[in-house]
């Protein structure tokens, strides 16, 4: 019971400390900031150690055993020795700390860059290019001229927005005349996009504030019924 009260008070103390920066930079804020940075670093170190080095590598190479009904000690899974390759590549990364043989870390980097580039190339090309292009190239009025006015207007906005947006990013021709006008329309669409993103960002940040104020007034002080 005591620890529950203590935990709520610590959370409230740290929340108020962080918000005290709105008044001005002060030692209370600095203390809370330092606690946050320190705990975050420690948390991530421990998490990554137990999930990656122990949970994936150690358990993968040396699977735990258990005793079956016959009293025999059996492994829960087959050892995966391919993980040793990853471990060696990981160790090579650490050789950057030794200048003379630091070049060996490039092998690991080459593997990471190559593997991720290959993986992402397929994913992004399929999901973010082909599917999106496919969705943009569509009949404006529906396949059987059966679309509603709402859909038709939406399709026209998408078509015009995509086309003029692409024109804005085409820099091989000077933005003048009709071409320049299209580029300006493209800028308009970009601004609307940025505005929508900004609006959503404001909503998200306000949500964080609402969450903390709800904690202070409800969980801490119990003022909200």
């Amino acid at each position: 019971m005591f620890w529950e009260h203590f935990a709520v008070w610590v959370a409230a103390f740290l929340t108020l400390g962080i918000y005290s920066f709105l008044y001005k930079d002060n030692p209370w804020y600095k203390l809370c900031e330092s606690i946050f940075v320190g705990i975050s670093a420690g948390y991530w170190f421990v998490t990554l150690f137990w999930d990656n080095i122990y949970g994936k590598f150690w358990v993968g190479v040396f699977p735990p055993t258990h005793v079956n009904e016959l009293g025999e000690s059996v492994r829960t899974a087959q050892p995966d020795y391919w993980l040793l390759v990853g471990a060696v590549l990981g160790l090579l990364m650490l050789l950057r700390l030794v200048p003379k043989i630091g070049w060996l870390s490039r092998w690991s980097l080459a593997f990471i860059v190559g593997a991720t580039a290959g993986f992402y190339l397929i994913n992004y090309f399929s999901s973010n290019v082909m599917r999106q292009v496919q969705d943009t190239i569509m009949p404006l009025f529906g396949s059987g001229f059966d679309a509603s006015a709402y859909v038709i207007i939406g399709n026209i906005v998408v078509a015009v927005g995509t086309f003029t947006g692409l024109i804005y990013f085409f820099f091989s021709k000077e933005h003048r005349g009709a071409f320049g006008f299209s580029a300006k329309v493209g800028i308009f669409f970009l601004m609307v996009t940025f505005g929508a993103s900004f609006g959503y960002t404001v909503m998200s940040r306000m949500s964080l504030l609402i969450g903390r104020i709800d904690f202070l007034l409800s969980d801490w002080l119990g003022l909200i019924r």
């Binding site: 008044y23 999930d51 969705d135 998200s204 949500s207 964080l208 709800d214």
Partner: protein, 336 residues
């Protein structure tokens, strides 16, 4: 008395005041406060009037400091939490399609929920998680939980605990391992999703509590995504909805609905139009809409009033700021 000592005294007084309220809360003599609709309207009118005064002062050349703006935003967020008035929440098409996708499932279907967020995003995503669980229990869905973020499964447990506090859902007697399971966190980002496409067990040999995958009845026949009827992803960034779309949807044909933080939502809207996503709950607004659709109005709906008030304050100060800008002739100075 120096300014520093005055500041320390003010902080100490505030903390002592809060301590008294806290003791009152614990000992039971301090009850919560709720504004009646009439009081709420008076508060709103006073707030609007004070903003009008600030506008007039600005026009007269007396500018307010940034701390005033902070105080107003704080008030705009805090006061609506006490108000007993409600706000009309229209349902957007993307939330309705997400709900319709769930409605199409048969009772008792198996849903996979991936918790890809941590406590900072909880105000937006936790209400979605709770209302999603409530909906699942109403329909007797089997719930398989996982997380690509280390703290995700903890958030899932919190949401489940909260839902099970309700006697209505406690009476359903949802059994762990049979009706729901938390497979825990798995490191590896999108590669986890990739491996799950062929074999769930290769990524989750044990559940959150360390029980073997094979011993859990709920996932006994779950080999890969083809054995799951619906996937719901609660995401606050990377890895999250984008990765689920790219791998689970486009490679394995999974039926995916998503709940995103508002920051991430615009990034995911293109997937909605192309049909890669069934629906999106975007930020707190999405949470409130889903709560309304499912008939479980909770924190998402309650927080929307604060959200709307704070937006009104932001808009008001943007107007006041522009008035100050043009009245002060700063445009002229800047153009020189």
């Amino acid at each position: 008395m120096s300014t520093r000592i005055k500041e320390i005294l003010v902080v100490a007084l505030v903390l002592v005041f809060c301590a008294i309220i806290y003791i009152g809360k614990v000992s039971g003599w301090m009850k919560g406060v709720t504004f009646s609709p009439a009081v709420s309207m008076i508060v709103i009118i006073l707030l609007a009037a004070s903003l009008a005064v600030i506008l007039v002062l600005t026009i007269r050349g007396r500018l307010v400091g940034r701390r005033t703006v902070f105080v107003y935003v704080g008030i705009a967020v805090a006061l609506p939490l006490f108000m007993s008035i409600s706000q009309y929440i229209p349902i957007s098409p993307e939330v309705r399609t997400l709900h319709d996708g769930l409605e199409d499932l048969q009772d008792g279907s198996k849903v996979l929920v991936s918790f890809d967020y941590d406590p900072p995003s909880a105000p937006e995503l936790q209400p979605m998680a709770e209302s999603f669980f409530r909906y699942c229990m109403d329909r007797d869905f089997k719930i398989v939980i996982m997380g690509l973020w280390p703290q995700g499964p903890l958030q899932a447990n919190q949401a489940m605990e909260k839902v099970l506090e309700d006697p209505k859902y406690a009476a359903k007697n949802y059994q762990y391992g049979v009706d729901w399971v938390n497979l825990g966190f798995q490191t590896g980002n999108e590669f986890v999703i990739q491996r799950m496409g062929t074999d769930f067990r290769s990524m989750f040999a044990t559940d959150y509590s360390g029980a073997n995958y094979e011993t859990l009845p709920i996932v006994k026949n779950v080999k890969n995504f083809s054995n799951v009827d619906y996937v719901f992803n609660l995401s606050a960034g990377y890895p999250g909805t984008v990765e689920w779309v790219q791998v689970a949807v486009d490679r394995y044909g999974v039926k995916l609905g998503a709940g995103n933080t508002a920051v991430q939502a615009p990034q995911c809207y293109p997937y909605l139009r192309s049909g890669q996503l069934i629906g999106i709950l975007g930020g707190m607004n999405g949470a409130a809409e889903f709560e309304k659709l499912t008939g479980h109005e909770a924190k998402g709906t309650k927080f929307m009033l604060s959200q709307s008030f704070s937006h009104m304050i932001v808009i008001a100060f943007i107007i006041i700021g522009n008035v100050a800008f043009f009245m002060g002739g700063r445009k002229k100075n800047l153009s020189v």
